[in-house]
């Protein structure tokens, strides 16, 4: 039954994704709660997130998850009802509980058939004991225990509050009436799983399975659902809690829930709303003990009367479905049938479900692989549309050229739209660090605030995934080495609480991520001493301050005197550097002793397709990423002839330049004359550099094809692309060239200073 396994696996996958999302959400809610502990909204969100995890775990039968989540949820429920207040202990407990849920969820997803590992179970038991204390100290709100107390209370209310008790039915149980839609089985839901889950909310006292809608064997569609269910439930849970059991099938069923001791009139509405014959359903209600025979009689009689009033009542009679239509609430209240509070709660609930559904419709989960395929195809499309345009130009037919141009423009739009599909906001990644900062600062007894800005900055999903680990390293380093202990800070005249900033923004075709702290900064003397000790540099080597700072990226370099659990194993920073390199990004460090350190990471926006600027050097074409191109200027002959240093004056600024023909040793075609009169001014990381080329060929949509293994070590080239003509053009790696310029000029300076 591989099919079945597939379905199950798919279901689990959805559960995994959903719970991971919700767990992340609850973590960020908890952290926000730390700042605003009185926010009802946050507490409600938290409760809902955890409740949904419990709900879906229940449906998949992950009992371990349900058992733990249930208790955690109860404590959150007390918090929501203001029976307990949020203090630091509870906060830590809730955060730990969230981690435990996360472990449990992971466990059941990865090894669903194995029992929980001892360690997870122990942690869970420890947390449960602590959670239970809150439950014991506060009011007893456990939902599972069908408490005799609440029944007594209910009776008291009845005898005190309501004089017309005869209108109420005598049953002490909730009555749930459930008719699934035909397609519920096809949608992958089995009604059975909901009843199993319902059993955790209360005791199913009575269960009647109705098959009156079921056709004969020959006429039935075995994959449709025909059964109806009448259930009596003994529970002290709220109506909302009961309805939430069926949250996942609300679309696929008609659900009616009647509280204990409902008015007979409510049963009238119910009987009327159900598809079965009124008398038949009435008999069932009597049989299950929901109604006595007298009550049924009264209900049916009043039903007739009501139908009359309702026809007068301009047909509001149609709005009978309890949970799914708001008008019923109005009808009920108007007729004094339901408590306003109950209706409010129901309406509230509906709105929430609707909102949730709205959010659901706004996004579609797509397999990342499919998206990758699409982007590859778009890449091919871009190449062939360039080719088409080129061929069209050769024909000199104006109509054809026009169409080709139009096509190219559309392809460009498709390209942008496709690439934007992979763009995600970096905020989620950033928010994950809040927890890290919180936990580590507790461990280290430091006081640290994490400030996040630019969380809505978008970048390619693959980049986001790969940048997360390096960021983690950098933040841990800042926390561990950068930020001082509170008393040291105070002694140095700094505020006791340190600030670590995490910032993202767009800057000329790249995304910049900055991590800065106001800690003690990098000490150049210590760095140099350490570098000499670790033989990273020879003794007496002269280095500029930025070069000294860059030493921290050298392999095997760690300045921490002691290796802590958080950082300091000396493998961090060079790995960070490599990771960022592999994303075609760059990292730089800026630090001032005693004031703080900041790391700046620059990353390309996307890894697949870029707008390029095509130039001719000698006999070959090259492509410069257009985002980096500032302007094109003419190199006047005098400069070219004299070769006085490799600098030109650009509007009063000194700008270095280099001849691409020299860099790539490009010869000339036969009969070709070297123009060499164009400078493409590129800017990278604030540094302007001129690239001298023979000819400017204009914009070109560039699909980046990675170079093979053989060319891995080629400097100055970041990839290749195929031009419309089928020719291959190299993509110039501007950052490397710019760095080379700066280091070459430094070497010149250094050599001058040495000799």
């Amino acid at each position: 039954m591989s099919d079945e396994n597939d379905y199950l696996a798919e279901g689990r996958q959805v559960f995994a994704e959903e719970s991971t999302e919700l767990l992340e959400q609850s973590e960020s809610i908890l952290l926000r709660l730390e700042d605003e502990p009185d926010s009802d909204e946050l507490i409600n969100d938290l409760f809902r997130a955890v409740h949904t995890i419990k709900g879906s775990a229940g449906i998949f039968g992950f009992d371990d998850v349900v058992a733990f989540t249930h208790v955690a949820e109860s404590v959150m429920g007390m918090l929501r009802d203001k029976e307990i207040t949020l203090n630091e202990d509870l906060m830590s407990l809730l955060l730990d509980s969230r981690d435990q849920m996360s472990d449990l969820v992971q466990q059941v997803i990865e090894t669903p058939d194995e029992p929980l590992p001892e360690k997870v179970r122990e942690t869970g038991d420890g947390l449960l004991a602590k959670l239970q204390q809150y439950l014991d100290d506060g009011a007893p709100i456990e939902m599972v225990i069908a408490s005799g107390n609440s029944q007594v209370e209910a009776k008291e209310i009845t005898s005190n509050g309501n004089t017309s008790a005869s209108e109420q039915v005598s049953s002490d149980y909730w009555h749930i009436s459930l008719r699934f839609n035909r397609n519920v089985l096809a949608n992958g839901m089995d009604p059975l799983s909901f009843f199993r889950y319902l059993n955790t909310v209360g005791d199913i006292v009575n269960m009647t399975t109705l098959s009156t809608e079921l056709p004969l064997l020959a006429q039935m569609n075995p994959e449709e659902s025909y059964l109806g269910f009448e259930i009596d439930l003994n529970t002290s849970a709220t109506k909302e809690a009961i309805a939430e059991v069926f949250e996942f099938v609300l679309d696929d069923c008609a659900l009616h829930i009647l509280p204990p001791r409902s008015k007979i009139a409510d049963y009238t509405v119910l009987i009327d709303a159900l598809p079965e014959e009124n008398m038949a359903i009435g008999e069932i209600l009597v049989a299950t003990g929901a109604l006595t025979r007298d009550e049924l009689k009264e209900a049916l009689e009043s039903q007739d009367a009501q139908t009359v009033t309702e026809t007068v009542d301009d047909g509001e009679h149609e709005s009978v479905e309890v949970v799914s239509k708001p008008q019923l609430g109005a009808v009920l209240v108007e007729k004094g049938m339901a408590d306003t509070r109950v209706v409010d709660a129901a309406v509230n609930k509906q709105n929430k479900v609707k909102e949730a559904k709205k959010a659901e419709q706004q996004s579609v989960r797509v397999n990342a692989e499919k998206l990758g395929d699409l982007i590859n195809l778009v890449g091919e499309l871009v190449i062939s549309s360039a080719h088409t345009e080129l061929k069209a130009k050769e024909t000199d037919q104006s109509e054809l050229m026009e169409t080709a141009e139009h096509l190219t423009r559309l392809v460009e739009e498709i390209r942008d739209a496709t690439l934007s599909l992979r763009m995600v906001q970096i905020g989620d990644t950033f928010n994950r660090f809040k927890r890290v900062v919180r936990d580590i600062s507790k461990d280290l007894n430091k006081k640290i605030d994490l400030e996040i800005s630019g969380g809505d900055t978008e970048l390619d999903k693959t980049v986001v995934e790969k940048i997360s680990d390096p960021l983690m390293h950098l933040i841990r380093n800042s926390l561990d080495h950068g930020v001082e202990l509170p008393d040291v800070r105070v002694a140095n005249g700094k505020p006791e609480t340190a600030t670590v900033k995490l910032e993202a923004y767009h800057d000329s075709g790249s995304i910049v991520i900055e991590i800065s702290d106001d800690g003690k900064g990098l000490d150049p003397d210590v760095l140099v001493a350490k570098a000499i000790e670790n033989e990273v540099i020879p003794e007496n080597h002269q280095l500029t301050l930025p070069e000294i700072h860059r030493l921290i990226f050298a392999a095997g370099f760690s300045t921490a005197e002691e290796v802590t659990s958080i950082s300091g194993r000396g493998v961090g920073m060079d790995v960070v550097n490599k990771n960022i390199d592999s994303l075609r990004g760059q990292i730089s460090v800026h630090s001032e002793l005693g004031v703080g350190t900041s790391f700046t990471i620059r990353l390309p926006l996307t890894l697949a397709i870029i707008d390029g600027f095509q130039v001719q050097v000698g006999s070959s074409s090259y492509v410069i990423p257009l985002d980096l191109v500032e302007e094109c200027i003419e190199l006047d002959d005098q400069h070219a002839e004299t070769k006085k240093g490799e600098y030109v004056a650009l509007r009063g600024e000194v700008m270095p330049y280099l001849h691409l023909a020299d860099v790539f040793s490009e010869g000339l075609k036969d009969g070709q004359e070297r123009h060499r009169n164009n400078i493409v001014v590129v800017q990278y990381a604030g540094q302007k550099t001129g690239l001298v080329v023979d000819e400017l060929l204009g914009e070109h949509q560039t699909v980046i094809k990675p170079l093979g293994q053989v060319f891995q070590n080629l400097k100055g080239i970041s990839g290749a692309t195929i031009l419309g003509s089928g020719e291959v053009a190299m993509i110039i790696d501007v950052p490397t060239l710019v760095n080379r310029m700066t280091s070459v000029s430094k070497e010149n300076k250094d050599s001058k200073s040495f000799h």
Binding site: M1, L185, L192, T208, T209, S211, L214, M220, Y226, L227
Partner: protein, 105 residues
């Protein structure tokens, strides 16, 4: 797979002994339904042995109920026996055991 006719079936007497498939879930519902329909036209007394059932959901219960409805309408007989523990569990949840005739109780 699907439901199969047992050796003890006797066409003359119209007795059909059916061994339920191990899978009575929605995934096998179409196959099981087809098998039941083919038996239904040939026989008029059905004994279904549920001992091999490992998985059953509400679609499986529905099939049995539909067979029962048809049998009642056409004056045919239908009994169940040897419920496996998954079957018992599901029938308990749905409180539906009493709606069937059991030849072993």
């Amino acid at each position: 797979m699907a439901f199969s006719k047992d050796k003890g079936s006797d066409k003359k007497k119209g007795l059909c002994k059916i061994a339920a498939d191990s899978d009575m879930s929605i995934y096998a519902a179409a196959e099981n339904h087809e098998a039941l329909i083919s038996f239904y036209t040939e026989f008029n007394n059905f004994e279904i042995n549920l001992s091999a059932v490992e998985e059953i959901d509400s679609s499986g219960i529905q099939l049995l109920l539909a067979l029962k409805h048809s049998a009642e309408k056409d004056g045919k007989q239908m009994t169940l026996n040897s419920a496996s523990s998954p079957v018992s569990e599901v029938m308990d949840v749905l409180n539906i055991k009493g709606q069937f005739n059991w030849s072993d109780k």
